[in-house]
């Protein structure tokens, strides 16, 4: 049997569209609170934007370049582009159907999107003033015709194409062909898309306000038609890493990316046909790239509406992270970690211990140095502040900033500069490798010598995303981890070549090989009669070598559960190939983000947490770490999390062998794993309270939630 056969692999782009479909399902789900459904509508759109700019652009490019090679799933670019376009068009139509339903339901709840013509007299006066004072100064009409170059329209900008007619017979603005005169106005992105009217929760769209107030802008012309459109560009441009100053190059890269070729055009069905023809020709687009939408173009800003005050029942009940169980009785965070490894599961447990240990370290006279990798951080990050403070306090602070975190570059450049000016030693990673691992190392000189505190995590050091991404982080003071992580920093700073690792597994060095071996071990066990069992949880599973190994394991009788939120190229339930593999995806209120790898290992389970998905880019082109979770209590905690996720029958979908997903339906007690996990933390806390009666956890919790 040839496991390389394309029939055994699902296409990754199509699988991604399936993922976005699941996100849309959350918007369609009647059980999701109404405003939250709107939020999922916004997420679907922003997901598509990124997908279009990078993935679809790449496939489209391949088609244009005449590349005719089949991918792992046996598809040629042309065919793939066709399938993708079809699927996306269908999904976008569904999204707008859902959107329109949600909006009409919201109207019943009193949140109204008012058409301009339906504004009351009073409201219209208010809006006209608003237009004059606020909007108009931001407008820059551009005249266009076939004789001058088409203006450079900004990626993802919403524009109004205006067809004009001269009121006088002769005008220098007249188009050479004489028939059509166009102008384009960009809808300003710095003004809120939804303008709130004075009365409660009535909104009007910004673009409608502009369209209805154009008269004064083109004196001497009458407006024949107004046409909204939005254009998306290819953002898959190359970064020149071979440069003296990566920070500089990154700044220019971000600028360059704004001007890739157009790949998608979003319009409404009532577009003036001449303007449409002109636009499509100017942008050099194919019919497949045109999306005719039944509703407002660009739904990302509907997120603004979900932030409306009140309306509690239309939103998820507020979630407050519980105090981290392992630290709840801790008085000295270093002591707690020294005594025992600690594990924190976000967002169920608070992100506080991470911030706290860095803050403590920045002030602790015993601390000599802090080293940390930063990938994406929040806008006003307490971590950045603490690091800057540590540097001011004379600690050696080394920060590895990954500037290449996609679409976050601009933000990253900002605080990288901030850290540099605070005296931190800021480094920008290795050429050709993105540093994706999440590591923190604190070096402390204690009575009995140097001791190192390590934090390793599956998610970024970002206190904001830690509120809705599920991630795990482990704290340890074990010498072996300290040494490994020190060595990794020495590699990242360019001071050393890789050592032989004691504990951690590092990509691109030995990650894939190590996990192939771990799967092999299960295969051997299964063949010799010991049960083989593997549970892999990550965001995407694409790596062909690992997928093939999982097929081998399935064939050898190893029971495999995969919890893959996004893309999964493994095709389950193929007779004699993947019968023992079950794939589920959990998409719900929280973004599943933790990567956890479990191997039964004949009764002595090996469990790893990791920053890496099982996809080639993570394993070959990024610096990633998988860390073993060794403490028995922590192992148990992780295993119970996995068990709960596997029993989810509310938000879990199962992957079918045709590549589609279906909600898990069974007659068991309904389990929403994400809800359940919050409750579980309560149980742990109560247990802890029993163990240490001196501490009143309820009181602590109260203080905490303030």
């Amino acid at each position: 049997m040839n496991l390389n056969d394309p029939m055994y692999f699902l296409n990754k782009q199509l699988s991604w569209v399936e993922f976005n479909k699941r996100v849309l399902e959350e918007a369609q789900d009647e059980n999701t609170p109404l405003l939250e459904r709107l939020k999922f509508i916004s997420i679907v759109s922003s997901n598509f934007d990124e997908f279009m700019m990078v993935r679809v652009s790449r496939v489209r490019r391949a088609v244009l370049d005449g590349i005719d090679k089949t991918d792992k799933s046996g598809l040629r670019p042309e065919k793939l582009y066709e399938l993708l376009s079809k699927k996306i068009h269908k999904l976008v139509n569904d999204q707008y159907d859902t959107y329109n339903k949600i909006i009409s339901q919201l109207e019943n709840e009193g949140i109204k999107l008012i058409k301009y013509v339906n504004l009351s007299k009073k409201e219209e006066i208010y809006i006209k003033d608003y237009f004059k004072d606020i909007i108009k100064p931001c407008l820059t009409p551009m005249a266009i015709d076939e004789s001058r170059p088409f203006p450079l329209l900004l990626n993802k900008s919403l524009n109004i194409g205006i067809s004009l007619e001269s009121e006088e017979s002769e005008n220098f603005l007249k188009n050479k062909t004489g028939d059509h005169l166009f102008s384009i106005i960009r809808v300003p992105s710095n003004i809120k898309r939804f303008i709130k009217l004075k009365d409660k929760n009535r909104y009007v769209f910004l673009e409608e306000v502009i369209i209805n107030n154009l008269n004064n802008i083109f004196p001497g012309y009458s407006i024949k038609s107004t046409n909204l459109f939005r254009m998306t560009r290819n953002a898959d441009v190359n970064l020149n890493e071979d440069t003296q100053n990566l920070l500089k190059e990154m700044e220019s890269y971000v600028k360059r990316r704004r001007w890739g070729e157009p790949v998608r055009l979003e319009i409404n069905s009532d577009m003036d046909k001449y303007f449409k023809k002109f636009l499509i020709k100017s942008l050099d687009l194919k019919p497949k790239d045109i999306y005719v939408l039944d509703g407002p173009i660009d739904l990302i800003p509907v997120l603004e509406l979900t932030k409306v005050d009140g309306y509690g029942p239309l939103k998820y009940a507020p979630r407050v992270a519980k105090p981290a169980v392992d630290f709840v009785t801790s008085e000295d965070i270093f002591k707690t970690v020294r005594e025992k490894d600690c594990l924190v599961h976000h967002p169920f447990e608070s992100f506080d211990p991470v911030v706290k240990i860095i803050k403590k370290a920045s002030e602790d006279p015993k601390v000599l140095a802090i080293k940390q990798t930063l990938y994406r951080v929040s806008g006003d990050s307490p971590i950045i502040k603490a690091l800057a403070k540590a540097s001011n306090n004379g600690k050696q602070v080394t920060v590895l900033v990954e500037l290449k975190a996609r679409f976050d570059e601009k933000n990253n450049i900002g605080w990288a500069k901030k850290l540099e000016s605070a005296g931190c030693h800021v480094i920008y990673g290795l050429t050709g490798l993105k540093v994706h691992s999440k590591l923190l190392l604190i070096i402390r000189e204690e009575k009995d010598g140097i001791r190192r505190y390590v934090h390793m995590a599956t998610g970024n050091y970002n206190d904001t995303t830690a509120k809705f991404y599920t991630d795990i982080g482990m704290f340890t003071a074990k010498e072996t981890f300290g040494k490994d992580v020190s060595s990794l920093f020495n590699i990242l700073t360019g001071y050393s070549s890789p050592p032989v690792w004691k504990k951690i597994i590092v990509a691109p060095m030995n990650f894939r090989k190590k996990f192939l071996n771990l799967i092999n071990k299960e295969i051997e066990n299964s063949i010799s009669g010991i049960p083989g069992r593997i549970i892999i949880k990550c965001n995407s599973l694409i790596d062909k070598k690992l997928i093939k190994k999982l097929y081998e394991a399935s064939k050898a009788g190893v029971k495999i559960d995969l919890i893959i939120r996004g893309i999964c190229c493994l095709r389950p339930n193929i007779k004699e190939v993947s019968e023992n593999i079950r794939v589920i995806s959990i998409v719900g209120q929280l973004l599943e983000h933790s990567r956890i790898f479990y191997f039964y290992n004949s009764g002595n389970p090996l469990i790893y947490g990791s920053s890496a998905d099982w996809r080639p880019r993570n394993l070959d082109r990024r610096v990633e770490v998988a860390f073993p979770i060794e403490d028995e209590d922590l192992k148990e905690k992780i295993f119970s999390i996995l068990k709960l996720l596997l029993h989810d029958n509310i938000k879990a979908r199962e992957l079918k062998s045709d590549g589609t997903y279906q909600r898990v339906k069974n007659s068991l007690k309904p389990i929403n794993s994400q809800d359940k996990l919050y409750k579980k933390i309560d149980c742990y806390l109560q247990k802890k309270e029993k163990q240490s009666p001196n501490i009143n956890i309820k009181r602590l919790f109260k203080i905490f939630s303030k």
Partner: protein
């Protein structure tokens, strides 16, 4: 750091030490601290710079590599700063690659100017001696080797091969051969890619050294083969050797089978098959060939591999100063035994050498306040006392000249080449000749050592005159040091006219140097 511990500014507060080793293919940084009775490695960095290939191929280190080395060192310093370690307390040593480079002084100066580090370039002997110290430390920790039997120790540096015999917990003799893995691949490297029978070339080349080894080894029936050297880690990994109680073993069969598998492969093939860097692939065959060759001189079925790293040993000694001092004492015993082995080789008069050794040391010890020399100098005197007459093996005529030549071409364990030169000089001047600036051998010495040779020769001459007849007449001596004279009282029941006559002949240098008169007197035993 080698013998005379320099008075370094000690960072008393910090128990953390840093050591940098500039090796032929990489720079190493280790940061350690003491934890109870163990040394704990906090940081271990390796920064690849192929200095060795520059030095061995072009006799000097190229600009690119100097630059790279400086970059590596400044990274190391950043890491060291993390631990608040005083820069002056950093141990930094270099070996062959720098030692043999023609532009050595320029490079050392560059390092000093750019990084503030003062590199100590170890002589080949010093390097070997450190490794042997490491081997002894390791072996003393391990009880499961049958060390009663003779063991062959070997250490392949990139530039030279060191071998030694270990018996009764002592290293009894050592030998240096100018062949190392890197050197070999540099010498023969051009042929390596041109033929798949390169192993024949290597084996043939090594057989010329085997001839030398035979005379050194064939008398010994060696039961154990202990090897150390950086390339071994590579071999261990490839052979998936088992590690038992901190020791790794490779069986002869396994080794030979693997050798047979790679011997007709080019470095490119090896690099592909075993996923190695090209540098490692190039030295794999030569180093395995060297070990194979050595192995043939033993009856051992397995090779015991010790992981000894030069900088580890130095850091260990730094962290455990008391223990190391003791160890140096033990090693001194090995040095003395090793000197006596040389003596045996040239059929020396054991009784005479022994009594002269005794007298010379006694005189030395009683004259400390006027000669101002240290314990290391005392050892040099002792070694000269043991070996001063070995020239008689060649001819009685001008035997001191022959002694000089034999000593300086011998190997004494734990003695540097410079020190060997001093011992040879002392021996040359023990008899009729007196130090003369026109003598080539004396001219070569620097001023400090010229004085040292003169002083020690003066003392040896006194001692030697006390057994002029080589009959062991004088059983013991007593020494009385007065303001303007030294009285040596010979305890004997026999007449010592001859000795007195010779003593007065030989005392001239002593009087010139120390400015006091030496008298020999006699006292009955009773």
């Amino acid at each position: 750091m080698f013998f005379k511990k320099k008075n370094k500014q000690k960072n008393m507060k910090s128990k953390i030490k840093a050591g940098i080793y500039i090796d032929s293919q990489a720079l190493f940084l280790k940061i350690v601290q003491r934890e109870d009775n163990k040394i704990k490695f906090i940081e271990e960095l390796e920064y690849p710079v192929n200095l060795g290939s520059d030095t061995f191929a072009n006799y000097k280190i190229g600009f690119d590599n100097v630059d790279k080395m400086l970059k590596g060192l400044s990274g190391f310093i950043k890491t060291i700063e993390t631990y608040n370690i005083n820069k002056d307390s950093i141990i930094i040593v270099a070996t062959t690659a720098i030692r043999a480079a023609e532009n050595k002084d320029y490079i050392l100066d560059q390092i000093h100017v750019k990084t503030g580090l003062k590199v100590e370039v170890l002589t080949d002997n010093a390097e070997k001696f450190i490794i042997y110290r490491g081997i002894r430390n390791k072996l003393s920790e391990i009880s499961n080797i049958d060390l009663e039997k003779k063991s062959l120790l070997s250490y392949i540096g990139t530039g030279r091969l060191g071998i030694g015999i270990y018996e009764n917990e002592m290293i009894t003799s050592t030998q240096n051969i100018r062949v190392g893995s890197l050197k070999l691949s540099e010498i023969l490297g051009e042929i390596q890619e041109k033929t798949d029978k390169f192993y024949l070339v290597v084996e043939e080349y090594l057989s010329s050294f085997s001839y030398m080894l035979k005379s050194f080894l064939n008398k010994n029936s060696i039961k154990t083969f202990i090897a150390t050297g950086k390339n071994l880690n590579l071999i261990l990994r490839l052979l998936e050797a088992k590690n038992i109680n901190g020791l790794s073993y490779i069986s002869k069969n396994k080794f030979n089978n693997f050798y047979a598998k790679i011997k007709d492969k080019t470095p490119n093939q090896i690099s592909q098959i075993y996923n190695l860097s090209l540098e490692n692939s190039e030295i794999l065959l030569p180093s395995m060939a060297i070990y194979k060759n050595l192995w043939s001189f033993t009856n051992s079925k397995k090779m015991i591999i010790l992981d000894i790293n030069l900088i580890d040993v130095l850091l260990y000694e730094e962290v455990f100063p008391k223990k190391s001092k003791l160890e140096f004492q033990n090693l001194k015993a090995s040095t003395i035994i090793s000197a006596k082995k040389v003596g045996e080789k040239y059929d020396y008069n054991y009784a005479h050498a022994t009594v002269i050794e005794k007298f010379a040391l006694k005189i030395f010890d009683n004259l400390r306040e006027i000669h101002g020399l240290d314990d290391r100098d005392r050892l040099l005197l002792q070694l000269a006392a043991i070996l001063h007459d070995i020239g008689k093996f060649i001819s009685l005529k001008n035997h001191y000249d022959h002694s000089y030549e034999l000593i300086r071409s011998s190997h004494i364990f734990g003695v540097t080449n410079k020190e060997l030169e001093i011992i040879a000089n002392i021996s040359k001047y023990h008899s009729v000749k007196i130090p003369d600036v026109n003598d080539e051998n004396y001219k070569k010495l620097d001023n400090e050592n010229k004085i040292l040779v003169s002083k020690l020769a003066a003392l040896l001459r006194l001692a030697d005159s006390l057994d002029r007849a080589h009959k062991n007449k004088i059983k013991d001596i007593e020494i009385k040091l007065k303001k303007d004279s030294l009285n040596i009282i010979a305890v004997t029941d026999e007449p010592i006219f001859l000795e007195k006559w010779v003593f007065n002949e030989k005392t001239n240098i002593f009087e010139q140097i120390f400015g006091i008169k030496a008298n020999l007197m006699r006292k009955e035993t009773r």
